[in-house]
């Protein structure tokens, strides 16, 4: 029975948390041991959204003086508030990463108000001026990586039919579908993307059905935007189709079928955040970037990717890395023939109009409602 040891440790951690709270608030410096809490909405080995964050957490574990605590499958209810408080009260966490989009309002906001000296880093890019200053929200322009995937997919398809398994027709998802399609059309102007919405973020059965139905319709390259791409990748590979991944590198699941993919690069960003705190800098409350800022990345090309495709994709990638390359460059019309971005209008990465996207571009087969 080592209860004595445990409770002593808790006591020490509690003390550490207090000191740390003040230290972080006042000087922004890291104390001897900082505890960082990561909260995931799904399981951390889902080969998807949550695993991407867990990889970021793993990168922090390697840094000295940091202790990382993790909790998975925390729903977007007051359970996440209690989990944050539990990490604060029982583990002494002073920096929290509630990683799911739906955690922000009202849960992260409530906790940030309640614990003004602790730092809350939310993934989703939702922070606005009205929100507490100790809450931050970061996100990546992953449509840039989807655009590169699209180029590779456009070269790799034989039928000219691409497939997209998507969760919900919300701006973030539509932007990925549109970027993927515009990329594919660079390589093959006749390429089309058939999209199927499953209705929710984690619907493995529907995702498998959608994958099979797309392949039955002649689609030979698929990608997706759901929380766990595993179902789509494995099913597509089994049926002999090629895939572009999403969230993390899924090539271990289908080494032969994996072309490339759009990945988060949290393992680069999270250590950056911690270094900023250690150096006494404040992390911008609203922190977003794309390929150039190393917030997103493109998976290494699979063996099936042709020389031509690699060359073209690398060329565009280097434009992203060196300049402000614009994906949504007018004229662009939607798949009903309406002009959505007029000729001469460039909608760059940070353009707020893109955050309200409610259309599918010409070349996408599907409807938003």
């Amino acid at each position: 029975m080592d209860f004595g040891r445990i409770s002593r440790r808790h006591l020490l951690q509690g003390g550490a948390a207090l000191t740390l709270g003040t230290a972080l608030g006042a000087r922004g410096a890291l104390a001897a041991e900082t505890t960082i809490g990561f909260i995931y909405v799904g399981s951390r080995d889902d080969y998807g959204y949550n695993q991407a964050h867990a990889q970021g957490a793993a990168a922090l574990k390697k840094l000295p003086g940091l202790k990382v605590v993790e909790e998975e499958k925390v729903p977007e209810t007051d359970a996440v508030e209690k989990t944050m408080e539990s990490m604060i009260n029982l583990d002494g966490a002073s920096l929290l990463f509630p990683t799911s989009f739906g955690y922000y309002n009202p849960h992260v906001l409530k906790m940030a108000q309640k614990y003004p000296k602790l730092r809350f880093q939310h993934c989703g890019g939702l922070w606005s001026d009205k929100d507490p200053k100790n809450a931050g929200s970061y996100f990546g322009y992953i449509d840039e990586a989807q655009y590169i995937s699209g180029i590779v997919a456009g070269y790799s398809t034989k039928s000219g039919k691409l497939g997209f398994v998507a969760a919900k027709p919300i701006p973030q998802v539509l932007r990925n579908i549109n970027a993927f399609t515009l990329g594919a059309k660079l390589a093959n102007p006749k390429a089309t993307t058939q999209v199927i919405f499953t209705g929710d973020w984690s619907m493995p059965v529907k995702e498998a059905e959608a994958t099979n139905s797309l392949i039955d319709q002649g689609v030979d390259v698929l990608t997706c935007h759901v929380d766990g791409p595993k179902t789509m990748v494995e099913n597509a590979a089994r049926r002999g189709a090629m895939v572009c991944g999403y969230h993390v590198n899924q090539s271990p699941l289908a080494p032969k079928a994996y072309l490339t993919g759009a990945e988060w690069n949290w393992e680069a960003l999270y250590p950056k955040f911690v270094k900023m705190i250690a150096a006494g800098e404040t992390i911008p409350n609203f922190y977003r970037g794309g390929l150039k800022d190393e917030i997103v990345k493109v998976s290494p090309y699979g063996e099936a990717v042709s020389e031509e495709a690699r060359k073209h994709a690398d060329e565009v990638k280097s434009k992203f890395m060196s300049s402000d390359f614009v994906i949504f460059k007018g004229p662009i019309s939607d798949n009903k023939g309406k002009v959505v971005i007029a000729a001469g209008t460039d909608r760059g990465q940070k353009d707020a109009e893109l955050e309200k996207m409610d259309y599918l571009v010409d070349g996408v087969i599907g409807a938003t409602s």
């Binding site: 007051d78 029982l90 989009f101 739906g102 973030q172």
Partner: protein
């Protein structure tokens, strides 16, 4: 003869005043505490062995479970906040069980109650908070009540199995919620997280003074007590139990079984609908997909563990709230996966169901003189 002496000696050890007549009077009550308690202890032992097989110290496990659920004031609040919705959703199963009906659709009633309550609040933007809250309570109860009444009516007038119909109604409720939230009721500003408009901070019901636990807990306690009085201390409840015992006998003595079924189903659904209203008014502040967090399904487990007794629902909900509150700590400290909490819940469920066979069979509690 010898066993009887030994048994009464054992009984005397528990209850000093034990004499045969004491046991005759209270044997049943003691059974109701002793058997579930033993089942719970058995389940914890089996779970400890399970955890030991994974190379973790079971004593650590028990300590962290206690610490995370009841070990500190914060842990208690965490537990109670998680128990609050479960008390109400458990009543959705426990009340119809008095009539011999197995209703497992509390989740659907919760969602419809939440939608109704949100609609009521959004329809009364000019009303003072107290009036809005009152309207939300009424709307939540009516919404959830009518939803389960639907299952009751299908059973009474069309002979449809209420277990299946109430479960299927959950998916219909979820589809209605998603449709309204992503369509007619959507707040145009909720871009990537389709939600209704917010009910406004002034209309939120807040927390019990001095704690972090919202008023939903009090609603739950009052509802459970009222349900207990209704079932065990009114002629209506007596009639319901008669009908639950033998429906033909009930009809022969002239009880209106149809009316009983409809009323009980309304009250049951009303309880779950109230839970939905509270999730909106105390936690989320609006309706969106976050509400489908499975409280309705955990409520089924609570009701069965409480042997469908409305009063026993309270401690069981607190127990399950505690298990889920400590689940996070088990993940963080022992590195157990989230699923281990489900394993524990499953083991408890099996033990409690199996222990049903013991009622009335424990020799010394029969008070043989």
């Amino acid at each position: 003869m010898t066993t009887d002496t030994a048994d009464s000696a054992a009984a005397a050890a528990i209850a000093p005043a034990a004499d045969p007549s004491f046991l005759q009077r209270h044997g049943q009550a003691i059974e109701y505490v002793l058997i579930p308690g033993a089942a719970l202890a058995g389940a914890l032992v089996v779970f400890g062995i399970f955890v030991a097989l994974f190379g973790k110290n079971p004593l650590d496990l028990y300590f962290y479970m206690y610490y995370g659920a009841f070990g500190t004031w914060f842990s208690w609040q965490n537990t109670l906040a998680r128990a609050a919705p479960l008390i109400l959703t458990a009543l959705c199963t426990a009340l119809p069980a008095q009539l011999g009906m197995v209703i497992i659709g509390g989740e659907g009633a919760l969602l419809i109650g939440a939608l109704a309550a949100t609609s009521a609040a959004l329809a009364l933007p000019w009303a003072p908070p107290l009036a809005v809250q009152f309207a939300m309570v009424i709307a939540g109860i009516i919404g959830g009540g009518l939803w389960i009444m639907l299952a009751g009516a299908l059973r009474q007038y069309r002979g449809v199995n209420e277990t299946i119909s109430s479960l299927l109604l959950v998916y219909i409720a979820l589809a209605i919620l998603n449709h309204l939230v992503e369509g007619p009721m959507r707040d145009p500003a909720s871009l990537n997280k389709p939600s209704t408009r917010e009910i406004g901070a002034a209309n939120m019901i807040g927390t019990i003074p001095g704690t972090d636990v919202h008023w939903g807990l009090v609603f739950g306690l009052v509802a459970a007590a009222a349900a207990y009085i209704l079932i065990y201390h009114t002629t209506f409840g007596f009639a319901a139990r008669v009908a639950g015992g033998n429906i033909r006998a009930a009809r022969i003595v002239g009880l209106s079984v149809g009316k009983l079924i409809m009323t009980i189903c309304f009250l049951a659904g009303g309880a779950a609908g109230l839970a939905g209203m509270i999730e909106v008014a105390a936690v989320q502040g609006r309706t969106n997909a976050n509400l489908a967090a499975g409280y309705g399904f955990t409520g089924i487990l609570v009701a069965f563990l409480a042997r469908q007794n409305p009063l026993a629902v309270i401690p069981v909900a607190i127990l399950l709230g505690g298990i889920s509150a400590s689940g996070g700590l088990l993940q963080r400290r022992l590195g157990l996966p989230d699923a281990s909490v489900l394993v524990l819940q499953g083991i408890i469920f099996v033990f409690v169901l199996a222990s049903d066979a013991l009622y009335g069979r424990i020799g010394f509690l029969k008070g043989k003189g």
